[in-house]
């Protein structure tokens, strides 16, 4: 089945490519000319993720954008959505191979390096940056994963979804804690104090396929290990081992996490917090507001920036980064094969103005990447201030085509440790040996990077 599917896709791609090659020679690209943009009779295709929380609002937003852009340039905008990261990947692969597909993609930040590695997206030149309203229109942090360096950027920040920590204000007040700690050790102490009966200090999704590596990455980065250091992978670094020990220790030694959490996905961990069964819920985004507002903890929770001082330290080491969150969100990229590059940049310009980003935030709850809009939001809404702050303190994951492998390896260490976690202890030797395997795999993936 897999084989057939894979092969079939490839064949279809090939067929598509051939058809396209025929069409391409006949097409012309008046949109790329100088002067005012006239998009009459043209269609821009945009691929973006389906918003499962607000499907109707998203359709309306699509229509609004299309209408506005038509009024501005005469061109039509067609949105296409993908349901999962898989869908997205398939679509990108198809388009990359066939040289046909959407003009603009809205890509997840961590996927941007892989997309960059394919070389199928436009490197944004100084000129192009001007077309989208200037590079300085965006918050500095949001540009952190646009490209390997300033001169080779493909991603134009679209939205920011930084990770923060939700906490139960009532529980903290009852225990006499005035605010969440800013060190991981401090957070653990508070969590211990808050654990009693069937209430646990932390709600952690050990069984999630994405959450675990973000903890490990954050703690490692804060301790000065960027995981990918030039041509070297540093998964077997002592600070990373320490990060895993801390992460597993919360459950096995400190017992501040519900033992059932070994099977939890992120949504289950959030549900436990929403039930009032946990004091802290690290690694959530602003989209959790919906769940929490409709839950038992409505009005009794607040957000805070996650600790930025690595485990075992009281002060961040000098080479450590103040990484409150991975740089999360999405970037716009323009396809290399697009016949409507200028129109594409014009649309991105329209979507990243302060006003449009405010509209987007109001509709979907996703944070702006436009510096002005972010600032306005911070001053207007105290509840969101920590999220905006986390957005500023976000650090991009290493910009490498091999990042996918590294991320998978980091998650795999947690997945394979679950049985031991269930048995009550994950030994340091076990962590070291698991990391050694992943280190070798990741290093060979990095060696392949071109």
């Amino acid at each position: 089945m897999m084989k057939k599917k894979l092969a079939l896709t490839t064949a279809l791609l090939a067929a598509g490519a051939i058809t396209l090659a025929g069409c391409a020679s006949g097409g012309d690209a008046p949109g790329d000319g100088a002067g005012a943009l006239d998009g009459k009779g043209k269609t821009l295709n945009v691929l973006t993720d389906a918003n499962t929380l607000y499907p109707e609002e998203q359709q309306k937003w699509f229509a609004d954008v299309s209408e506005k852009f038509k009024a501005k340039t005469g061109a039509e905008v067609k949105f296409e959505t993908f349901a999962s990261a898989n869908d997205e990947l398939t679509k990108i692969q198809t388009s990359v191979v066939s040289g046909q597909g959407p003009d603009i993609y809205s890509l997840g930040t961590t996927f941007t390096p892989t997309a960059y590695a394919t070389g199928a997206f436009v490197k944004v030149s100084d000129d192009d940056w001007k077309k989208v309203g200037g590079r300085d229109r965006f918050t500095e942090a949001s540009l952190g994963i646009s490209g390997p360096d300033k001169d080779n950027e493909v991603g134009i920040p679209a939205r920011s979804r930084p990770f923060v920590m939700a906490y139960n204000t009532e529980m903290l007040a009852a225990a006499g804690i005035d605010k969440p700690a800013d060190t991981w050790d401090g957070l653990l102490e508070q969590a211990k104090k808050l654990t009693h009966d069937d209430v646990y200090g932390l709600s952690i999704a050990y069984g999630d396929n994405f959450d675990p590596w973000k903890f490990i990455w954050a703690m490692s980065t804060q301790a000065g290990n960027p995981i990918i250091d030039g041509k070297k992978v540093r998964l077997d670094d002592p600070v990373t081992i320490k990060a895993y020990e801390t992460y597993f220790g919360w459950l096995t030694q400190d017992k501040v996490v519900n033992p059932a959490a070994i099977g939890w996905k992120a949504s289950q961990a959030l549900a436990s917090f929403a039930d009032g069964k946990a004091a802290f819920m690290p690694m959530v985004t602003a989209t959790s507001i919906n769940t929490l507002e409709a839950s038992a903890v409505a009005g009794k929770y607040a957000y805070a920036v996650m600790p930025t001082v690595p485990p075992g330290e009281t002060k961040r080491p000098s080479d450590g980064k103040e990484a409150a969150s991975i740089l999360s969100g999405s970037n716009f990229v323009v396809a290399d094969y697009s016949k409507n590059k200028d129109l594409s940049f014009a649309l991105i310009e329209m979507l990243t103005t302060a006003e449009e980003q405010k509209v987007y935030y109001d509709t979907f709850g996703e944070m702006p990447t436009n510096a002005k809009a972010a600032e306005a939001l911070e001053t207007d809404n105290a509840q969101l201030a920590p999220i905006v702050e986390a957005s500023k303190l976000s650090v991009g994951t290493p910009f490498s085509g091999a990042w996918g492998d590294v991320q998978l390896g980091m998650t795999n260490v947690v997945v394979q440790a679950i049985p031991s976690l269930n048995a009550g202890s994950v030994s340091t030797d076990q962590i070291i040996s698991a990391l050694k395997t992943e280190q070798d795999k990741a290093q060979s993936a990095l060696d392949r990077a071109k």
Partner: protein
């Protein structure tokens, strides 16, 4: 259906005769010479052979007569199906083979045609550096287990619903529920039930058993086997049931008259009738389990725990998470070979007519 040389010669000699009767006789002889005891081919052949005789010129080459019959076949009418076969099966297969020989990854995807050709390096890497061998072991082991356990369940269920009783229709439909449910739904439901604090463990606790961890660790293998059995036994049931329908009621009567007990009847009368359907069910069930990607994917997620890192999941991770399309294609080819073995045995076992053999039935 092998024709003995002597019979052939005799038949051919007769075919050289020009009279219609002689030709008919020759055809009948040739057909009779065939190993098949079936009388139909002989009759058909005789009929067909009789037609063109008066106008057909005498010929010194006996085999030619056969070719006249074949010549007029409008083979071009097979073209739509043929083209579809080529596009849907052959082209992708060849492309898959080609890709498995290339160093195709995220860096070379864009100009995939010109990706470096690296021969069998991918195969070597798949067999020596990846967990492919373990995955094959897990996949085959689990598929065999599932198939063997499903067999008695399916046969028993089919026998139980063979005779008429009140509510038989309802029971029969209920039996099909697991099979009709989409795998994705089955996976999601069982994943929820098999959580450490889920319904499954709560139930086991009533019996004083500590269920432990089902979705990771060594027990996850048994969870996969169990859920797959739950979802796939109705398939065997379905095929066996259809096989049972084809057993004539006279057979039942006869064995009853002869005083056969239920076991004797089942073992020596009914089961021989079911040999075909059961073999087919076993093979398809095995292939289905080996190829099942959705169930382990939904149950355990990605990356999969080492105990349930089955072949399709490994291939998927290699191709779509690590972007090693070439390596992944090599794994897929290896798994294709793996699947081809039982398929080949099956085709041999049921002697599904192909090529030479199939042709000889209708040839004359």
């Amino acid at each position: 259906m092998v024709t003995t040389p002597e019979a052939r010669t005799r038949a051919d000699a007769l075919a050289a005769d020009t009279t219609p009767e002689a030709r008919t006789r020759a055809d009948a002889l040739a057909a009779n010479a065939a190993a098949s005891a079936d009388a139909t081919p002989a009759r058909t052949a005789a009929r067909r052979g009789g037609h063109p005789a008066p106008s057909s010129p005498p010929t010194g080459r006996p085999r030619r007569a056969r070719k006249i019959g074949e010549r007029d076949r409008p083979l071009w009418m097979l073209a739509p199906g043929g083209i579809l076969m080529v596009v849907v099966i052959l082209v992708p297969l060849v492309l898959g083979l080609v890709i498995s020989l290339m160093d195709l990854d995220q860096y070379t995807l864009r100009q995939w045609i010109s990706a470096p050709f690296i021969g069998i390096t991918n195969y070597v890497e798949a067999l020596t550096k990846s967990t492919l061998i373990q995955s094959i072991g897990i996949s085959v082991g689990y598929a065999v287990l599932v198939t063997l356990i499903c067999l008695p369940i399916g046969v028993a269920a089919a026998l139980a619903t063979q005779n008429r009783f009140r509510g038989r229709g309802l029971v029969r439909s209920l039996f099909l529920v697991p099979y009709v449910l989409p795998t994705f739904v089955v996976g999601t439901v069982w994943r929820t039930m098999l959580q450490p604090d889920g319904v499954g463990n709560a139930m086991l606790k009533n019996f004083g058993i500590d269920g432990g961890l089902w979705l990771n660790g060594p027990q996850s293998y048994w969870a996969l086997v169990f859920v797959q059995i739950w979802a796939s036994w109705p398939f065997i049931y379905l095929l066996v049931l259809s096989g049972l329908q084809s057993v004539d009621s006279e057979v039942h009567e006869a064995s009853a008259l002869d005083g056969a007990g239920w076991w004797t009847k089942l073992r020596y009368v009914i089961l021989p009738y079911l040999k075909g359907p059961i073999t087919l069910a076993l093979i398809i069930s095995f292939l289905h389990s080996v190829n099942n990607f959705t169930l382990p994917f939904v149950l355990f997620g990605i990356p999969a725990p080492a105990d349930v890192n089955v072949l399709p999941v490994l291939t998927y991770i290699t191709g779509f998470q690590n972007f090693r399309f070439g390596l992944s294609a090599a794994m897929a080819v290896i798994s294709l070979i793996l699947i081809a073995i039982p398929l080949f045995i099956y085709l041999r076992a049921v002697k599904l007519d192909t090529g030479e053999d199939g042709g000889s039935r209708v040839r004359k």
